[in-house]
């Protein structure tokens, strides 16, 4: 049921397919796959692998946006969790390092959720606080240096593989599955959509809207913490200055491309991840094409514009009117 694609998802799927086709045109080996050291390699795998952090962020972000919120702190949370995991990796067993990093993520989410739900601060301002402070906290943890580690267990999160599939991809897929089961298998999905659609009415219907809001911010930060572990494992170190920098914007973009309105309400987990893949497929395509990466930003903006135009109700009514006029 979770994977049931809504009708409105057509635009995103077509966009992803179109971009993959273009990638294939600029780089003929794009769909080639090869197995090496028990792990799949190839441009397509690369898209999934490189896109994993943003896909994870968008998975949490889509829930926050569905409640009519936004979380600007996910990049900073990535930095914090990466710093913690990297600092602990070589002196403690990997479950301790990972649990501490994820725990820190949950605490960050609780902080955001309390600011938004209990204290009633506007989400964009409330999470801005952690966006700024979080990077400072991460730098304090690493004492301003880039902390490196060698623990192969933690490195697995970035470069390992399960049945040939890169670990980050496996993690994203599992988190998509878990989030889907938690949200759609329980009543959370409906109650989150109701909270985002009309918080006053939902509260008057007995929905614990504050609880919903705290829960989605915690889940969002948990996803960010996981993304932070992957990012740190990938470079075998934590760079508090640059880990996750600006990724909150990519995550918001992925959610919007995925068709979830910033005004809250209806959301789709699958399409948010699809949005993240669209962004990454573009990035990879431009790198492969040999154009300078500066083009990336302009092309990204153009694709976003096209996807949004396709979803625009105003445009839909214009095209219907044109069709009627012709008939």
């Amino acid at each position: 049921m979770m994977l049931r694609l809504p009708r409105r998802g057509l635009a995103q799927i077509l966009a992803l397919i179109a971009i993959l086709v273009i990638d294939r045109l600029v780089s003929p080996q794009f769909f080639d796959l090869r197995l090496q050291d028990g792990r799949l390699f190839g441009s397509l795998v690369d898209v999934l692998n490189r896109g994993a952090p943003v896909a994870l962020l968008s998975l949490g972000m889509v829930l926050v946006i569905a409640t009519r919120g936004i979380d600007l702190s996910v990049g900073a949370v990535m930095a914090i969790s990466g710093a913690i995991a990297a600092s602990l990796a070589d002196s403690y067993p990997w479950p301790v390092a990972v649990a501490a990093a994820l725990g820190a993520g949950l605490v960050c989410g609780l902080w955001n959720g309390i600011l938004v739900a209990v204290l009633g601060i506007q989400p964009i301002v409330a999470t801005l606080i952690l966006m700024v402070a979080g990077r400072g906290v991460a730098q304090l943890i690493t004492a301003g240096r880039i902390v490196t580690f060698t623990s192969p267990d933690l490195v697995w999160f970035g470069t390992g593989a399960v049945l040939g599939i890169p670990a980050p991809v496996v993690i994203v897929a599992s988190m998509l599955l878990i989030t889907g089961i938690v949200v759609r298998g329980s009543a959370l999905g409906l109650l989150i959509e109701a909270t985002g659609g009309n918080a006053r009415a939902s509260e008057l219907s007995g929905v614990g809207t504050d609880l919903m809001i705290v829960a989605v911010y915690m889940w969002c930060s948990l996803c960010a913490a996981l993304a932070g572990i992957i990012a740190a494992a990938d470079i075998m170190g934590a760079d508090a200055n640059n880990a996750g920098l600006w990724l909150e914007l990519d995550a918001i973009l992925a959610v919007v491309i995925g068709g979830t309105s910033l005004f809250g309400g209806r959301f789709s987990l699958v399409l948010a991840v699809c949005g993240a893949l669209i962004i990454q497929a573009m990035n990879t395509g431009i790198l492969l094409s040999g154009y300078p990466p500066e083009f990336n930003l302009v092309v990204k903006a153009a694709v976003v514009l096209i996807v949004l135009l396709v979803q625009s109700p105003a445009l839909a009514s214009i095209t219907t009117a044109v069709r009627k006029a012709r008939a």
Binding site: A187, L190, A201, S205, V207
Partner: protein
């Protein structure tokens, strides 16, 4: 106010103004006239058509029929801007100025005195100071408007409007957030303006203020003109009757004969209240009984409903449900105990517009069951289909976003939301507001049916006929306090009117003393 010996032509003459929204007649052939130099109260309960009338006069809405004549000239403004240019200014309850700019800048926004294209700040301040002094206001015009009290902001807004050569000034509930001293200040400004020949339309729901400051009163009800009277010649009880009482032209609801034994108590509120919200009250709601809440707008009806449902947290008193004390701190608590609440503001407090009819119907039940016990899609479909059939919700499509339904059908879907939790107590705030005539009768029939099934009902309505038709008991409110209860035998429109006005008379007597 001076009415003159010779009938002068009115400053503003409105004839046959009509506006419909869908199937709803918001304003039906309304006439209205305003003389120069008078303060004219425009009264009516929520949904009477006051704001529609103002919006039609000021061009915010476009009219379906009717004419507006200002100073002998027919006008048809298409926006508030055009109305202002014609000489009609409106000041709303929420001041529409910019609180972070200085008072002077607000007064001259968009028409700043300039020399060679440069704003002459000193000149602007000097003029602003002079203008406000004309209103008896000696304040620093360079300070931000937001740093002053709401009353001063109102007077500044009025000063700006009048300075824009307004001849008609519309004040839409300007006193709602003012204290007594500030109201006095505003009234002296209004009187000074009237003396200068400006016609003022004053919308309020404070009757004391109507008698204090206005010369004439126009009452609207259900979008129709009920009457226009000189204030001095209209006793309070008559005014209340005009605002709430029955219209002979309307189909009247018959009061059904009752022959039932009193139900067992469902919820009992003792000394229940909240400071500054509703004075502590005792209220017993019984199974199989409809308790009506009657009173004027602002008397504390909705406030009582919100307290009963836990939407507002009481700070005194206690509640028992089925004889056992319960905690009632939030709507969640209320829903857990089987209470339901259909709020007056359907759009902002009731429906989740984007979600489907099915999702809206199951929302309260799902909230009650909790996150861990989701209703399966099949159960949801079954519930939605059952209630769509039972309440005849149209179109009968559970997957349609509820925002696309008509007001009456949205109201039925909200009723369904609460019926789905199999409630013990249902609070209905203006259940027939903004609903077309057909659905209106159906909602009333539903209320009776629910009551017969043993539900306890607490119903708020501005329509006294309705209250009389379905209530077993009527609680009368005034000034945010419960002032009386009418038992089954005593319920009639005249008895409710005199219960509301009895207190008013007592207060009028008190005023006479002081």
């Amino acid at each position: 106010m001076d009415q003159g010996v010779f009938p002068k032509p009115p400053l503003l003459e409105v004839k046959g103004l009509t506006k419909t929204f869908g199937a709803l007649r918001a304003l039906d052939q309304v006439d209205f006239s305003l003389r120069a130099g008078e303060i004219h109260a425009l009264l009516g309960e929520n949904g009477a058509g006051k704001s529609t009338l103002i919006k039609l006069i000021t061009g915010v809405l476009s009219r379906d029929a009717g004419t507006v004549v200002l100073d002998g000239q027919e006008i048809a403004p298409r926006s508030a801007r055009e109305a202002l240019d014609a000489g009609i200014a409106t000041v709303y309850q929420e001041v529409n100025l910019l609180p972070n700019l200085s008072v002077a800048k607000n007064l001259y926004l968009g028409r700043e005195p300039t020399r060679f294209g440069i704003v002459r700040d000193g000149e602007m301040k000097r003029r602003a100071k002079a203008l406000l002094e004309g209103f008896g206001l000696h304040i620093d015009v360079a300070a931000p408007l937001g740093s002053y009290s709401v009353a001063i902001q109102h007077i500044a807004a009025i000063a700006r409007a009048v300075d824009l050569s307004a001849r008609v000034l519309i004040l839409d509930e300007p006193t709602a957030s003012l204290d007594q001293h500030e109201v006095a200040m505003l009234f002296s400004t209004m009187r000074a303006l009237a003396a200068r020949g400006i016609g003022i339309i004053f919308v309020t729901h404070f009757l004391d203020q109507v008698y204090e400051v206005t010369g004439r009163i126009t009452v609207l009800r259900n979008g129709r003109l009920i009457g226009e009277r000189p204030t001095a010649a209209l006793p309070r009880i008559e005014l209340i009757r005009m605002m709430l009482g029955r219209e002979l032209s309307e189909e009247t609801e018959e009061r059904a004969a009752r022959e039932k034994t009193p139900g067992t108590p469902c919820a009992t509120f003792s000394n229940f209240g909240k400071t500054g919200y509703v004075a502590p009250f005792d209220l017993e709601l019984r199974h199989g009984e409809v308790t009506g809440l009657a009173g004027l707008l602002g008397s504390g009806r909705t406030e009582t409903a919100r307290l009963v449902f836990g939407a507002e947290r009481a700070d005194t008193g206690s509640v028992t449900s089925e004889g056992k004390p319960i905690r009632l701190h939030s709507p969640r608590d209320a829903v857990r105990h089987g209470f339901g609440y259909c709020p007056e503001e359907r759009k902002t407090d009731g429906i989740v517009a984007e979600l489907t009819v099915r999702e809206n119907i199951v929302l309260a039940l799902q909230a009650k069951l909790g996150i861990a016990r989701p209703l399966s899609r099949r159960e949801q479909d079954e519930i939605a289909r059952r209630f769509i059939k039972l309440l005849d919700i149209r179109p009968p499509d559970p997957e349609r976003p509820i925002g696309l339904l008509s007001g009456g059908n949205q109201q039925k879907a909200l009723l369904a939301r609460w019926l789905a939790i199999d409630p013990k107590l249902l609070v209905l705030d203006e259940p027939t507001r903004g609903i077309d005539v057909g659905a209106h009768a159906e909602i009333i029939r539903l209320i009776r049916e629910l009551c017969d099934k043993g539900l306890a009902l607490l119903v708020i309505s501005s329509e006294l006929d309705e209250i009389v038709a379905y209530s077993d008991r009527v609680v009368v409110l005034r000034d945010r306090a419960h002032v009386g209860t009418l038992g089954d035998a005593a319920i009639s429109v005249p008895s409710i009117l005199s219960a509301i006005a009895a207190d008013a008379r007592a207060e009028a007597a008190r005023e006479g003393v002081t």
